[in-house]
Point group: C2
Chain length 245, copies 2
DNA sequence: CGTACGATTGAGAGACTTCAACAAACGTGG
DNA sequence: CCACGTTTGTTGAAGTCTCTCAATCGTACG
């Protein structure tokens, strides 16, 4: 169980993101901090929202790794988004009510759950906050578009390098990465479902990246000796993450 | 040049979409109808917003066909979204200010341009409308996710069938399609850039679809004799379009 | 009637997949 | 603390989907 203090610290993670682009008023900040949030611990590989459910809470990742995914009739899985601490994986379905895919954990995760009504109430009281949340979903969508570009037009090698770069910056922005690497708790199978590849091919691509001295990866410890080089390999341009405007 | 009456008729196209999910008040409806909109005609294959521009207007497609796209360093293009009358192709970048890709026409199109400030003002006056616009962007994002699934995990054949089904329903919903077909003004090359395929392969896939009697396509006239059959071929489930909730 | 763009075809190559087996790492219970 | 089972990672070989290149055909339009 988390203490109240912890929860505040964790709400502030959310606050940091929301306030990243335009400034919130003190009142608005307080409203966000006062959102009632139930913290729940999920094991790895567990559903938070099942496809078709009509969830009553909105999730904030506090620790761990969460993904949005879709399973096709033939059993294939495509991971549609990766969510790290500070992210709200199902904000996309909050205004639409009906999610069209599942949300689940990839690693053991702490997830804050905020009742939809409380969020609704807050947005009614502070309409300007709607824009901040809206923006969050747009950044999420921008990331999805970048993945689309990769899936449609980049090689497996580029796409993989690109993803590793993206996660590096995103992890950095919430203080979970060092400048030369981070903890990547995804199996090669999960990477494959993210990148639209087979597990076998992911394995070979990772070996190529190692051979080129662009990464070392032992267990979940990813080391990136030369950020620039990896970014070049993945044609990575961070503009789409909107981290600094 | 359009008459004032025409413009109203066209604003109402927008209104229909915005009001599709939850009802707007009379005041809100009026605010939308009163948005000042400059109608501009664009030829086919012309940019409306160039990657990196900071646009001053927000676009509404009134007629024709518009797309969002990204060109990669090696010249490859990925089309990220298709926009038909009633759609707002750059609503995604409106709250973020900085677009991370271009928007252009695929066919000769009438586009309504609404100054950002006017939109901002309206949302300030009627904060509840923000949610309606937000929802629009989320449906757009849901479509993008569905494309991601296709790009990552579906065969060229399924993916193509899926896209044809999606456009069919979307065109139907704005009265631009009959139940047995519609006008598809995309070249095979443009389809290829949408589907993440080569032009040659799109050509062969279309021939396969013809051979299976799922479509006939002469010029831009697409005929779908059996909607169900094509949907089955594309594993198409329209839920993600959120057309009816 | 020529020109240009889009559609079509054929042949060969390459990227990625599938299948299948094995090795290594990990967690768990005895 | 070791044995064991399960999961994850690695390797090889064969196959297939899709791409590239390059030529040809059709058709609309000036």
């Amino acid at each position: 169980m988390k203490t109240a203090l912890d929860e505040q610290a964790q709400s502030s993670l959310l606050l940091r993101k929301l306030g990243r682009i335009d400034d919130l008023t003190d009142d608005e900040e307080r409203a966000v901090l006062n959102l009632p949030m139930k913290v729940k611990v999920f094991d790895a590989d567990v559903d938070i929202i099942r496809d078709g459910d009509r969830p009553s809470d909105c999730a904030v990742v506090l620790s761990g790794f969460v993904c949005r995914y879709k399973i096709l009739p033939d059993g294939k899985r495509q991971i549609l988004g990766l969510y790290i601490p500070g992210d709200m994986p199902d904000l996309q379905s909050f205004p639409l009510q009906v999610p069209d895919h599942g949300v689940g954990t990839l690693a053991r995760s702490n997830v804050g759950l905020i009742p939809h009504e409380c969020l609704q109430d807050m947005l009614r009281s502070y309409p300007n906050l709607t824009k901040a949340f809206w923006r969050e979903t747009l950044i999420d969508a921008a990331i999805a578009r970048e993945w689309m570009i990769g899936l449609g037009r980049r090689s497996a090698y580029q796409r993989t390098a690109h993803l590793l770069c993206e996660l590096h910056l995103r992890m950095m922005s919430v203080g979970l990465a060092r400048s030369d690497g981070y903890d990547l708790p995804l199996t090669q199978n999960e990477l494959a479902d993210t990148l639209g590849l087979s597990t076998v091919h992911v394995n070979r691509v990772l070996q190529d990246l190692r051979r080129e001295k662009l990464i070392t990866l032992r267990g979940s410890a990813l080391h990136i000796p030369d950020t620039r080089a990896l970014q070049a390999a993945g044609e990575f341009d961070p503009a789409y993450l909107h981290l600094t405007d």
